[in-house]
Symmetry: C3
Subunit: 366 residues, 3 copies
Amino acid sequence: MTFPSSSRSVTIPLQELAQAIDATIHGSPDALISGLSHLEGASCGDVSFVLKPSLMEAARHSQAAAFIVTDPIPDEPRPQLIVSHPLIAVATLAQKFFLPPLPPRGIHPTAVKGLDVRIGPEVSIGALVTIGDRAQIGSNVTIHAGVHIGDDTIIGDECILYPQVSFLPRCVIGNRVIVHSGTVIGSDGFGYVQHEGRHHKIPQLGQVIIEDDVELGANVTVDRATFGNTIIKRGTKIDNQVQIAHNVVIGEDCILVAQVGIAGSTVLGHHVMVGGQAGLVDHVKIGDRVKIAAGSGVTNDVKSGRVVGGRPAVEQGIWRRSQVIQYQLPEMRKELRALKKQVQHFESLLHEYSSSKTPSGSKSKP
Amino acid sequence: MTFPSSSRSVTIPLQELAQAIDATIHGSPDALISGLSHLEGASCGDVSFVLKPSLMEAARHSQAAAFIVTDPIPDEPRPQLIVSHPLIAVATLAQKFFLPPLPPRGIHPTAVKGLDVRIGPEVSIGALVTIGDRAQIGSNVTIHAGVHIGDDTIIGDECILYPQVSFLPRCVIGNRVIVHSGTVIGSDGFGYVQHEGRHHKIPQLGQVIIEDDVELGANVTVDRATFGNTIIKRGTKIDNQVQIAHNVVIGEDCILVAQVGIAGSTVLGHHVMVGGQAGLVDHVKIGDRVKIAAGSGVTNDVKSGRVVGGRPAVEQGIWRRSQVIQYQLPEMRKELRALKKQVQHFESLLHEYSSSKTPSGSKSKP
Amino acid sequence: MTFPSSSRSVTIPLQELAQAIDATIHGSPDALISGLSHLEGASCGDVSFVLKPSLMEAARHSQAAAFIVTDPIPDEPRPQLIVSHPLIAVATLAQKFFLPPLPPRGIHPTAVKGLDVRIGPEVSIGALVTIGDRAQIGSNVTIHAGVHIGDDTIIGDECILYPQVSFLPRCVIGNRVIVHSGTVIGSDGFGYVQHEGRHHKIPQLGQVIIEDDVELGANVTVDRATFGNTIIKRGTKIDNQVQIAHNVVIGEDCILVAQVGIAGSTVLGHHVMVGGQAGLVDHVKIGDRVKIAAGSGVTNDVKSGRVVGGRPAVEQGIWRRSQVIQYQLPEMRKELRALKKQVQHFESLLHEYSSSKTPSGSKSKP
């Protein structure tokens, strides 16, 4: 089979794009732009971008109609938009001009609402959405098909909830929060008390609070607190399949890459970056601006500003050096054994030597 | 924005709480209790709890109206409920008095039922639930919105299935089983036979059996067996994002922490505890009461009672010692190199010495 | 409770099974077969199979009515189907005779279709399925309850989409693709540009392409590309809870075991096998027929044909040797320390020896 790409219909004057990103136009401002793409994927009509000087050559061979650059590409006849941060310009243009439009506003007739639900203006509630009793939904929220919103959940303004997201009861969600499909927010924390060989459930009475501008990937899980709150603070971005346990607090502007797991009551500061598949045990404190390498296992507190890695996680320098040397272990062991033999040989030599001297020493014997 | 907490409406005489947990009341029994919380989160009206003597000071500063304790807090005027197991008391009270009520009994008009479905008394089947042909559902079961129950699936009594859970056909679920949102039970096991460079699917004809009192977290996956059954036995508790492959058997009263993966046909005994992100390869046997550290990779059978860790997992003592020393590897290598130099120096000294002696040694020759 | 197994109703003459797999019948061809099972699970009426000579004894004790074998079991009176590849024969028979039938063709009245949807013949679209505008669905496709298909998504022929799968807009799916429950295809890639301490979303404008004969397990996530495509090529099989980031390209006939994570823009060749819980960083190139051990962390390109393991992943031989020696580290350190002491002892001996000689050496001084 062949894989057709989706049809395009926009055409925007280059001038209009330039205005949206405060760019200086180098060359003709009259081009009409129909898309935005990276250099290798750009077709005629697209605006593309050059993120570093080494890509200028690739730009020359690209089919793009125009470029977003920091410095004009020498001898390039196609128009260029000069900006100081090309990637931010790209993000802005993509957001404003090239994203598919949001679904139409209104409530689909198949959506199921509970009692005393409050819904703000300009919302879009898709097919087969279920909304529990006393839920509150802000203005300009987009809720895609099949989302479930539990009783007493509060959702701020301008959120986007993708298909099949589940909010269990009493979650509190800020403004401009984006949640991708399959993500579950407010499931019970994993808490039991063992008694006579059986595990007895500790009901999880707490809540989940997700602050403004947070984005959660697909199939993420965020458990409600036992008591109090599990909190994800403003601006934090979480990738797919991340697990956030009960009573965890994640600071502002953190980045958690896919498949990270954070155990109960652990607290992260702001601007923490956690690499993919890393795990953090329960009840540890991670300071601000900490970086945790992919695949690490954090078992202790980490002070602000530190970069750590490994299982258990230690300072990056120590971890990196050990990581390299682990594979020299067979060689080290060989050397150690050779050395041991050599030393044994010396010992026997010394022994021989000292015994060869003994006869003269034995002179005094008789 | 501000994040309001959900409204409360219960008020229960302390006496009634005491009776429910067989507590002796120390102080006045007349207080009215409106909530249950941990010490730092308690507001006036809440009953709180002291799990160890070191928390007595925190209790004194807490705003709680009453406490659950093993021994009375000295000089504390507020009433206290004396019990032998405070956490069990907390779990009991939470369950009986402070959980939000279950949804109303009955079948939502938007639920879709197949043919020959049998449904017990006192069930609650939420909006947009889909139930396949010949499915059987016991009494007092709560099925939240958007759950899918496949053909011929059998569900026992008093189960709670949270929104968006999927049971594929022919699963068998016991009594009092709790399944959290996004969990998939009975998906095909991952089985192929390779032939001439292509992978041919081996249809997965088996089933999944989940016994009484099991709890499965959110976004868990439990594959059906190729033939026979994948089994999770009575009382086992499984955290979010755990993967259970085809033909796995998990014994009674096990604990599997988040993001654990268990490969095909592996068998766990009873009371096994598996730490977060650990992986178990296929076809291994884990004995009873085994503990597996978080992040471990189990590649061999483990005998009952053992505590293992590491990749590959070995006895805890060996693993912990090696784990510490891995970060001393750079130091060890430095020492090894220094030693090597020193020994080389001896060798040259010895060589020098022996050659300096050779002339005199040769004296005896003639 | 007791766990009844699902009722059976098929009975097929052995002769008919033999024809379907081109088998020679050893013994009577008249048996009637009602099921297919492994040796230990087979009940009378079942055909079972012997995959290696060492299982012949188990076959003799099995209750099966007939066997699929490469060589006849000596002195076994029950009929046997002789084939060259028993497991392929099993897969073929399971597929043709013993799988539950596909759901009835037709579109369930509760399914919700958008505008300009094109649907091929002989499809089955289950209850509460939502299909976006301009979606195209091929012939003989089976879409189970609660699936969401986004706008402009194209699905080929004979696909099976299990309950609660989500396709976000503009995904392109080939023929005979199987997707298990809870899987999300086309969620946004995890892309941000940091500016003045905040993370700004880079809209993800690209698509996901899934080619023919791909199978995706349950709760898998496949992100759409930033620009261009995330691609999973023909015949690749992906297990539960695997994460595929934006712009990843997976070659043909690969196997990715459960909980694997592949970071952005990484490219895999064909016939690559990735063990469970392995992680691959972004922007690496993995050649053809590479094997990556379970739990590995791949941080660099890997050439075709290599077998790698460990964190960071290195050639299997090096990794395996080091893995064993890591647990001998305490022993090695002990040896190193003993050796150090011995050498220090020599040194002091030599020093003593040389100082005892110094007087004679000092002769030349005056």
